[in-house]
Point group: C2
Chain length 164, copies 2
């Protein structure tokens, strides 16, 4: 479980990371080794989706599809703007990178199936579970889903390679 | 081909979109109908990857893996910070959303295989090509890749559904 804080009396040097110009945070993460992983291990996180996240994602990727930025354009089809699907994929890979397996792991593949859109104000929950471990190449296969209440937004599977 | 401009004497109302608090741009896009698509159609875009894009992506997704934010942490393994793989997936879906097929299309699935990391300062090129069309449900299947020079960064395939 990762915790972000700007107040870090107990922060180890390797946990103090730069996140922008001059800004630092202490990332209290459990960076797991391959030998510490087990089939069935899970991690979850719930994120309140904000208009700023959607606008920020549009800015960094250049994806200014008006379905994501213009309420009037998006109204007839979706009743208002919707989040980029790949933003939700980013929430998923953030769990891989900071919780399970944690920092040091890199994604090798992703397979995503989008089921329903997310909207500003939604509390999006992401669940991740280890379904396969390949010790020879320190590979973990994970599957997950994003949902809001009873509504599944996407199903995803991923392969992650661990450094140690 | 989409062009962004803040100077829009010829902008049609449907092309003037909101991209943030009070900001508007004119998106001169060719929003394609399913009947205008053909097998083999391609779109490309090259993006100079900046540290600000990587920091912005970390902020909106919460993916503060120090491989993406802390040069000292990333140095031993990658010789410096690397971009989030899903940021490159965002560049790919931005082409789908603004060039081919264009606004109004939504992604139904994505399959990504990561081959090599991208770094700040890289000119990342994205190529997209239509490889299958399913008229009954107005579905286009596209495949693409991201590369820097001769180095392939990722291979991707996607299904997109068109509104009309």
């Amino acid at each position: 479980m990762a915790q972000l804080s700007t107040d870090f009396p107990q922060c180890l040097p390797r946990q103090m990371i730069r996140v922008g110009q001059g800004r630092k945070i202490c990332l209290y993460f459990q960076s797991m080794k391959f030998s510490e992983l087990a089939l069935g291990q899970t991690a979850t996180r719930t994120i309140r989706l904000t208009p700023e996240m959607i606008a920020g994602f549009a800015d960094v990727t250049g994806d200014h599809n008006p379905l994501h930025t213009d309420p009037a354009y998006a109204e007839p089809r979706f009743g208002g703007i919707i989040a980029h699907g790949v933003l939700l994929v980013g929430f998923f890979s953030a769990i891989l990178a900071t919780q399970l397996p944690g920092p040091g792991s890199v994604a090798r593949s992703l397979n995503v199936r989008f089921k329903a859109p997310a909207r500003p104000g939604d509390d999006v929950s992401i669940e991740v579970k280890i379904i396969e471990l390949v010790p020879k190449i320190r590979k973990a296969v994970l599957e997950g889903r994003a949902f809001v209440g009873d509504q599944i937004l996407l199903q995803i599977s991923a392969e992650a390679l661990l450094e140690e």
